[in-house]
């Protein structure tokens, strides 16, 4: 049977998703994790709002602020191990073989990563929602906001995937890519607004962060979920496209260099 490519990759994604639908224990431990950090953040922002004497900061009510954090944490915590997997593929030589068919390899990895990530995100969101409902109660997100979020989240995941893929490829030259991975992941955390929305950044840093692709991977989708806004949608989409080109370009360049290296050194 000759499966057509779309079916093949969908099936890979589905299998990866299923194998990640882990045990009850893991969901509970996720919830415990979320409970700790969301509780701490809630205390932090309650104090900040009280000391500022404001009911809104950066346009966010405190409920929206905590919900925003649920979203950003859910996104960040669903981060894939793909760069480690690619690192391993490089070192075991499996990647060298795949580089003869680079598109197929990349798409397979992408399908696996998306499948994994969407499930982990959903589990995180579920656990986080349970906690935040207890802590600050519900918010009323707009339908348009939710739709925009649903559309942009997968794109954000693809951009992030490309970033991690590029790092994994560096295994051809580095003894360990763990360092690069940490830098990338922390940059995403900081410049991507994981800990506070960009609106609350001091002005100069805010404009810098808005111009980096990380904001489109974390802040953008999270903000859309919580408070909608078509201009945020537009900015996020533009940044995501820029990110696709930027990271995608880096991946292509690295692949070419890697191929040359294999030809010279034999993997």
């Amino acid at each position: 049977m000759n499966a057509n490519p779309i079916t093949k990759y969908t099936w890979i994604g589905y299998t990866a998703a299923r194998s990640n639908l882990a045990y009850v224990g893991e969901v509970i431990s996720r919830a415990a994790f979320m409970a700790v950090i969301l509780y701490i953040f809630m205390r932090l922002w309650t104090v900040v709002y009280a000391e500022a004497g404001a009911s809104r900061l950066g346009g966010f009510t405190i409920q929206q602020m905590i919900w925003y954090l649920v979203l950003t944490e859910s996104i960040m915590l669903s981060s894939p191990r793909v760069s480690m997997e690619i690192d391993e593929d490089v070192r075991t030589g499996r990647l060298s073989v795949q580089l003869l068919r680079p598109l197929s390899y990349a798409l397979t990895r992408l399908a696996q990563t998306l499948g994994e990530r969407i499930v982990r995100f959903a589990v995180n969101l579920f656990a986080g929602t349970a906690v935040v409902l207890i802590l600050v109660g519900p918010i009323r997100p707009s339908l348009s906001g939710l739709i925009m979020f649903t559309f942009l989240l997968p794109v954000a995941f693809v951009v992030d995937f490309l970033g991690y893929f590029a790092i994994g490829l560096c295994a051809f030259w580095l003894e360990s890519t763990a360092g690069l991975m940490i830098i990338y992941s922390r940059f995403t955390m900081l410049a991507g607004g994981m800990l506070m929305p960009l609106e609350v950044f001091p002005p100069r840093l805010q404009s810098i962060a808005r111009r980096l692709p990380f904001s489109s991977m974390v802040y953008g989708p999270a903000r859309l979920f919580v408070a909608g806004g078509t201009d945020v949608f537009r900015q996020t989409l533009i940044m995501q496209i820029a990110g696709l080109f930027l990271f995608g370009g880096i991946v292509l360049g690295l692949q070419r260099l890697a191929f040359k290296r294999i030809q010279n050194h034999g993997g």
């Binding site: 431990s29 205390r43 000391e51």
Partner: protein
Amino acid sequence: MWKSFKNYIGLLIAYTQINLNSQLEYRGAFISEAIGMLINDCFWVGFWLIFFRRFPVLQGWNAKDIVTLWAISAAGFGVAYAVMGNSWYLPGLIVNGQLDLWMLQPRAVLPHLLVGRTLVTAWGDAVFGYLVYLGFVRPDLHHAALFVLLSLSVAMAFVGLGVLTASLTFYLGNGTLLAEQWRFAAITFSTYPESLFTGAVKLLLFTAIPAGFISYIPVRALRNLSLMDAGLAAMGSIGIMAAGAAAFYLGLRRYESGNLISMNG
């Protein structure tokens, strides 16, 4: 008694050396991971600096205070798990029956096994903690000396925490997850200002989730240059270590009875 203590210190130094040598066989990976953690810690401080740029004072705390908190926590964490790395890996050791090897040797089981391994990333935390305190807070000699002493006290608290939480796995077959969550909660709470928490939660933070003894009291001691608070911090650390050791040896008896074995399905 003193001779025995000196003997164990000598053993500790020998193990730290051999652990380091073993890791340095893969120098690139070791440095990469340690520096990775150092960078991670820098980013967290970076977040707080951005936060305090926007909100300059938080219940009497400023940027320097939060950096002090991070510095002492990181330094203590780093020393603890760099030297006694197996207090981090202990849940797995217990569950996989790897205590046997340590029990075959002529040494007290707990202290011996604790120094048997190092947590590579902890080295990055340690370097970060001391450097950022010296470089950012720029303490005078008194504060610097107190910082170094307190970092050792915090290290003891972290070792105690690791042992205490790991001992849960003697009793719960799949307790590794729970033990790690408990440990994670204590570590996380200890990196946020004490004043954020009140009432029942605060009580919790000085008992079951001992963040109070891990970092809150040491930070108080540093801010006020108070020897009394420093003494209190040290006592708290000893308390946590004692609790951990007691829990461990109690669990070890269960291990020795062989009743630990549990299978799934």
